[in-house]
Amino acid sequence: MNGTVRLPPGTLTSRAARALICCILAAVLVWATTAPAPAQAGSAAAQGAITGTSRIEVAPDSTADHTTFEELQGPFDSGPAVTAACLECHVNAADQLHRTTHWTWAFDNALTGQTDLGKRNVVNNFCVATATNWPRCTSCHIGYGWKDDGFDLTQDTAVDCLVCHDTTGTYKKFPTGAGHPAYEDTTWQGKPWPAVDLARVAQAVGRTSRETCGACHFYGGGGDGVKHGDLDSSMADPDFSLDVHMDRDGLDFRCSTCHTTGSHQVTGSRYTTTAVDRIGIDVPGHTDDTRATCESCHGMAAHDDHPKLNEHTDRVACTTCHVPAFARGGPKTKMWWDWSTAGQFNDAGKPYVVKGEDGYPLYVSKKGTFEWAADVTPEYRWFNGIVRYTQRGETIDPSGVVPINAIEGSAADPDARIWPFKIMRGRQPYDSGHNVLALPHLFGKDEAAFWKSFDWDKALRGGMQAETVSFSGSYGFVETEYAWPILHMVAPKEDAVGCNECHTVGGRLAGLTDFYMPGRDTFPWLTAVGWGAAGLTLLGVLGHGLARLIAAARKRRTAA
């Protein structure tokens, strides 16, 4: 059916026919129950559309039924073959995707002037860097076949449509497949990993979901909840207490409800976070067309019954109070990763793993020492949206803690607000000859790969061979920290951080000392002088009164 996607009703499959009958029945039912008050029914439906709480049966999202398309009948031998079929109709899709950070893994920050950011470039303190470890890392790329530096980013059919648009839950990229799913039955870490039914997945494409976004974003850093802290598998099916917006029984938001998309560009960026959105509530035509800030829906004065809270929104980010803790859904998040202990063998001369009572690894020969935590209180910092990364080849000061990303802002900066962060800390290799963060070659079957040979010298030489600053031959380990803004897992308002948790000595904001905060800050000299004066006054009047009593008693005695 080249060129057309419209089909005469007679060609509907039995499944679509059943759906149509159901819709008609539902429509009749809705009409029958609401006919006396059609206006009311209309407003209820409209409200449902806004809040997502409606359980009214509505027509399918899509105007097309992909199960009926000849192009998608398969069989498909690979992901790119499915993409080719998608592109038959969605002719501009690949071009749109090619322009996204999801595809390029590269980002230039106009605010800082820093270029060559993005996943393919930045250094982190998890698995450190994607370079030379491509097939493992690119299992989270929205493409197929990013095996090495030579990946051609202009290929149309290398775009992976299914990883975002799957609705079956059966499409999973194989962890070491450079972005491909398993096309034949295989195993991963001893467990079966079945081949994907590409035709079935292709015919069931739909809108993105918490599950599809979460397939990568819940598992960043190599496992459930490892990286972000406020994103993990519990957010696929959260209840109200975990996230008031994504609550499966309530608003049931998907990620894209806030991370709006246009031309496949997903809004909301960790590289250029909107630290304060003074545009406020979005009105079409007058705004930035993104709902990726709280203010996009709630504005800057959302607390109708508590004006004092509205007087905080200029200096305190919404999530500072409304995300009282992260990793609240069950899975723990990684808080510490010490690469310096990696490479130890057990008595049998083999790499080994030590797990804690809860099953979380505490030591892995391949990776070093870990610490995990759940229900973590964030750390708070001033943040104006400007993030400066310590980039590859950039000189570091190994005597201190190296910031992987420096969060900018201060109390004196009117564009900065107090934000919550997960601070990921760890120790990672650096080139002690050149004083740059080192890039280890971890993954691969070659001898240089650390996970094969456990030899740092080889791994760093291999990892940095293509770098502008190559490996000097000497290395050490440096402590680093990486600040992750906390925005998800928005708690019910009853659980929000209360006034007393910050306006007190030693509270949540004890670390932010560059401003005066009532309830926390005092002037010790004034306190001493003030209470001293009050105490002396009290002593004075007591002494005066006592002297009068004594004098009176004496007088009475002499009189007597």
Binding site: F523, G530, R548
Partner: protein, 221 residues
């Protein structure tokens, strides 16, 4: 010499005084908690009650200022050096001798002795206005930009002055409670006057100069 019973404090004055006393005590309790002296209500409740009571006190003061201006009673607070030394000498020396009486002969139109006048004037035109102004600045912190105050003042500066004035208030409070509550003869005499409104005064033409709430009603010649 027979004394005469004179209404010194009108009904409004007594209401104003005691309501103000309660509010100031509440403000000190909540305010010093906000200042970190102790933990009782918690910051949120303490700050909330501090704001509410402050607004009530401001409202009360609006009435009190109006009353003082209309009745002319504000003149009672005008400081004077006349007799000051005698009063100071009385409180530092004479008071210890039950036989010595207060050197100041109060009248209906001059009910405050020179020390009281200085103390109450300090309270009225120094401590209280400073607390008011800094307190209002504190409350309207978010509007400093609109008021053109950004850059001129800082929150820590406002807090410093507000707290310093609060300590001055505390010192006044302690001194006042003692002086007014315990130094009459009998010791509760002034307190009783502030409760009943009446005091036994030595006869003086001014004493019949109308009741303080109707000061213009001059006595018949």
């Amino acid at each position: 010499m027979t004394k005469e019973r004179v209404m010194v404090f009108s009904r409004f004055e007594r209401f104003w005084h005691w309501f103000q006393a309660v509010l100031i005590v509440a403000l000190m309790i909540t305010g010093f908690e906000v200042n970190g002296a102790y933990e009782w209500l918690g910051y949120e409740a303490a700050a909330q009650w501090h704001r509410w009571t402050a607004w009530v006190l401001i409202w009360l003061w609006v009435f009190a200022i109006f009353w003082h201006l209309i009745t002319g009673e504000w003149k009672q607070y005008v400081p004077t050096p006349r007799g000051m030394i005698d009063v100071i000498r009385y409180y530092t020396v004479g008071i210890f001798d039950p036989g010595v009486s207060h050197p100041y002969k109060k009248t209906r139109l001059a009910k405050h002795n020179p020390v009281q006048r200085v103390a109450y004037s300090t309270f009225n035109i120094l401590i209280t206005p400073i607390i008011w102004i800094t307190g209002l600045l504190y409350m309207f912190y978010n509007d400093w930009g609109a008021l053109g105050l950004d850059g001129l003042i800082t929150l820590s500066g406002v807090a410093l002055v507000h707290t310093a004035a609060a300590f001055a208030m505390l010192v006044f409070f302690i001194g006042h409670v003692y002086m007014a509550g315990f130094t009459a003869k009998p010791f509760y005499g002034y307190l009783k006057a502030m409760l009943t409104g009446y005091e036994e005064l030595e006869p003086h033409p001014d004493n019949s100069a109308g009741r303080p709430d109707r000061p213009n009603a001059r006595p018949a010649p």
